[in-house]
């Protein structure tokens, strides 16, 4: 398993648009589940609604993790995505 911790910088947090983009970015790694954790809640990154239901706001700390055959590639893609968009 690979993971990283990220502090959200986007002033609006993870709302509909970034959630949609994140879910899309996670889609290619179907056999490598990617999760996003905030506090005690963990959701799959590919599930748009679950992502939104986390209610991630600016300044929140989230943990992104990937486990599976493509975990190195997946976590690198996620890190790049978070840095660029959130």
């Amino acid at each position: 398993m690979k993971s990283f911790v990220y502090v959200i910088k986007d002033p609006l947090g993870i709302h509909a648009r970034p959630a949609g983009m994140l879910a899309k970015a996670a889609k290619p790694y179907a056999d490598t589940p990617i999760t996003v954790t905030k506090g005690d809640k963990t959701v799959k990154a590919s599930q748009l609604m679950k992502l939104m239901s986390l209610g991630v706001k600016t300044g929140d700390e989230v943990t992104v993790a990937a486990e599976g055959p493509a975990e190195d590639e997946a976590i690198a893609a996620m890190e790049a995505f978070f840095k660029e968009n959130l």
Binding site: H15, G20, M49, K57
Partner: protein, 707 residues
């Protein structure tokens, strides 16, 4: 401005087609019924004992005659309702009810005024009539058209009106019959004063046209033909058919106005020995043109076609000529030369004027209900007998016109090298017809979705189509953006011609246009249109929407969570939504600030700025309702959530209130996506309703297939 005017006239013209479509049947009943109850006819053929008064056939034909006659007697009411239906943009059934109410109200208003000012004796003779038992002014079809247009205008203005809370029961569509009643009570009073001088004027004008005699008949025939390319002929000829402009005559003791009315009054009157030209001057020439003249033109075009293409072009011209001969629908034939050789069309118009005039001069009196094809000739010429109509004279006259059309067309086509069908340079045009033929055949054998998709694409995509209607031969469409229309694509769908004036587009298909229209509407309603909105992507998407699916397991339907205007989500002003990045569904521009549950569900989350709500319908199927675009930036202001995460809701439960005005002013759009965010490969979405939707009205259907 000119384009807008054309658009309105186009709608008026096509709205006449619904009531006019009844006339052939009404004419059939009246024609058969009156022919076989006419004692003169019966005694001529020695049928009095068999079918005379007192016999069963006489009884049956009398009933037929009366049942057909009542339709002609009440045409103004049918026009009022038909025009209202044709002109109303949405909720047409309400406009129809309002038109019927308004028609009764207006004539009752006039009736009351007549009673108050000294009764019918104080008015001009022939200026009053019994309208559905109401003693009123004789307004004929005009009365109905005024009501139809007025009600449609009121309807389009008010059918979405919102009244204060206490009166809200009377809001929306219910307000339309109410306001129409009030307005037309006033119109009735006004008409009492306005209509009388107009009656005098119309009678004088009718007298003028009628008294210019044969010249008037010539002008009528020519002008009517020249108006056909613009689709405006219905507006022009109707007053002559239906009102005093076309002449007035006393038949069987009552005054009758309008040529068609005169003819049918005479048809129903057993004492008539020869029909008057007053009832037929603007009809009989059509038989000469449609049964004889135009086929002559078709033959000329066939003979002028290049030998290699004769076979191909022959099929086209033969079917067009047969359509003209049998049903009197001429556009397929006329449009085959109108655009490539306007001079031929101009000459045809002069011939048309001559045909009407010669029939008038020769006292040939065959009336018609719909158009001058063989069906009408049989009913109102041949069946009525040569004594009453002189129809046999049509044969030599027709032969002369056939020859005139044939030789003049042939000479001019060769002399000026007009590119009539089969004479085009290169292969392009022939290809077009081949493709059209191919498409037409394919459409008959297979599902027609391909043609509808092509038509929608030619019109700039489903989102560009404002409304769709048709008349006898053409599809009439109003589009949002006229620049997006691609005439070449439209022609490849089997059209004989395409006419475009601003936002009004007419595509000429011929008599099967009814089916094409129904298919197109079906297509636009279905999700297929929503999936193929952009012309450029259409082909690609068409393939994408046809994946290999297993058996359809079940369908989930959700209602609209808002009151407003719905469109496919691809119409969202936000690219991320329009590209279906968040899911597939609809977007609604709300007219009320309330979100209700579209189905029974569990609230899976309420975003903390309250601008978006997630619903879980069942395990793994979720719907997102996102109010407005970029509304996350409002930080919750203007929104009030009425539920919280984990709540169970029933369809119709209020979920969220929002301040529509505030959002309009502070967000980039109020357009609100409603999406299935959990679409799997074995699921497909259909948009069930585009345009005005009420809360709870079926909006989206999710088809779930065997994986």
């Amino acid at each position: 401005m000119k384009d807008k005017f054309f658009g309105v006239l186009q709608r008026v013209g096509r709205s006449f087609m619904l009531p006019i479509a009844i006339l052939p049947v009404a004419g059939l009943l009246l024609g058969l019924g009156s022919s076989f109850t006419n004692e003169t006819t019966l005694s001529t053929y020695g049928l009095l004992d068999l079918m005379g008064p007192g016999t069963v056939p006489y009884f049956i034909f009398s009933v037929l005659s009366r049942c057909g006659g009542v339709i002609f007697d009440n045409l103004p009411l049918l026009f009022a309702i038909g025009v209202a239906i044709g002109m109303a943009r949405q909720e047409k059934e309400v406009a129809a009810l309002a038109a019927a109410v308004s028609f009764l109200v207006m004539h009752s208003g006039i009736s009351a005024m007549i009673g108050l000012t000294g009764g019918t004796e104080a008015l001009l003779e022939g200026s009053t009539a019994s309208v559905l038992g109401i003693t009123s002014l004789q307004m004929g079809a005009f009365g109905g058209i005024i009501v139809g247009l007025g009600v449609a205008a009121l309807h389009n203005r008010f059918y979405k009106i919102q009244l204060p809370q206490a009166l809200s029961f009377f809001g929306g569509t219910r307000f339309v019959p109410i306001i129409s009643t009030l307005v037309f009570a006033v119109v009735g009073i006004a008409m009492f004063f306005i209509w009388q001088p107009i009656q005098t004027g119309i009678n004088a004008l009718g007298g003028l046209v009628y008294s210019s005699g044969y010249l008037g008949t010539f002008l009528f025939g020519m002008i009517k033909r020249l108006l056909i390319p613009f689709g405006l002929h219905h507006v022009f000829y109707l007053p002559f058919w239906q009102t005093a402009v076309g002449g007035t005559m006393e038949v069987a003791g009552t005054m009758v106005s309008g040529a068609q009315n005169i003819f049918f009054a005479q048809l129903a009157d057993p004492t008539v020995t020869h029909f008057s030209t007053a009832g037929t001057w603007c009809f009989t020439g059509e038989f000469v043109l449609y049964i004889f003249g135009f086929p002559g033109a078709a033959l000329a075009m066939y003979h002028c076609a290049s030998p290699a293409r004769k076979k191909r072009v022959g099929g086209l011209l033969l079917s067009a000529a047969l359509t003209s001969i049998l049903t009197g629908i001429t556009e397929p034939l006329e449009f085959s030369f109108l655009f490539v050789a306007p001079l031929l069309f101009a000459i045809s118009a002069v011939f048309a004027g001559l045909a009407y005039m010669l029939c008038h001069i020769l006292n040939i009196t065959v009336g018609l209900t719909f158009s001058g094809g063989f069906i009408d000739l049989a009913l109102f010429g041949i069946l009525q007998g040569n004594e009453k109509t002189g129809w046999l004279l049509l044969l030599p006259l027709g032969a002369a016109f056939f020859a005139a059309y044939y030789f003049v067309f042939r000479f001019l086509i060769l002399k000026f090298d007009f590119k009539t069908p089969g004479r085009e340079e290169g292969d392009q045009e022939t290809k077009l017809y081949t493709k059209a033929d191919y498409n037409a055949r394919k459409a008959e054998s297979e599902a027609s979705a391909g043609r509808s998709a092509a038509i929608a694409r030619g019109l700039g995509g489903a989102a560009n189509i404002k409304d769709v209607d048709c008349c006898a031969t053409r599809l009439r469409i109003t589009v949002q953006d006229s620049a997006a229309v691609d005439q070449a694509v439209l022609k490849s769908t089997g059209a004989a011609g395409v006419i475009q004036k601003g936002a009004g587009v007419q595509v000429v298909y011929g008599p099967q246009v009814n089916i094409i229209k129904a298919e197109l509407e079906e297509y636009l309603r279905s999700g297929a249109a929503a999936a193929a909105p952009a012309p450029a992507q259409a082909e690609e998407t068409a393939e994408a929407t046809k994946p290999e699916h297993g058996k359809l397991l079940r369908t989930l339907v959700i209602g609209s969570p808002m009151h407003g205007e719905a469109a496919p989500v691809t119409a969202s002003p936000d690219a991320a939504f329009a590209e279906k990045m968040m899911g597939d569904g609809a977007t609604i521009v709300p007219c009320e600030g309330l979100v209700t549950a579209p189905c029974d569900a569990t609230i899976s989350f309420v975003f903390d700025t309250n601008h978006a709500i997630g619903l879980e319908l069942e395990e793994g199927i979720e719907v997102l309702i996102h109010v407005g675009i970029n509304t996350v930036e409002l930080k919750g202001q203007g929104f009030k959530a009425l539920v919280q995460e984990g709540d169970q809701v029933k369809k119709g439960d209020p979920l969220l209130e929002f301040d529509l005005d505030y959002i309009r002013e502070n967000a980039s759009s109020t357009s609100s996506p409603v999406l299935f965010t959990t679409m799997e490969d074995n699921q497909q979405l259909r948009l069930l309703k585009a345009g005005h939707v009420k809360p709870g009205e079926d909006l989206l259907a999710l088809d779930i297939y065997e994986a």
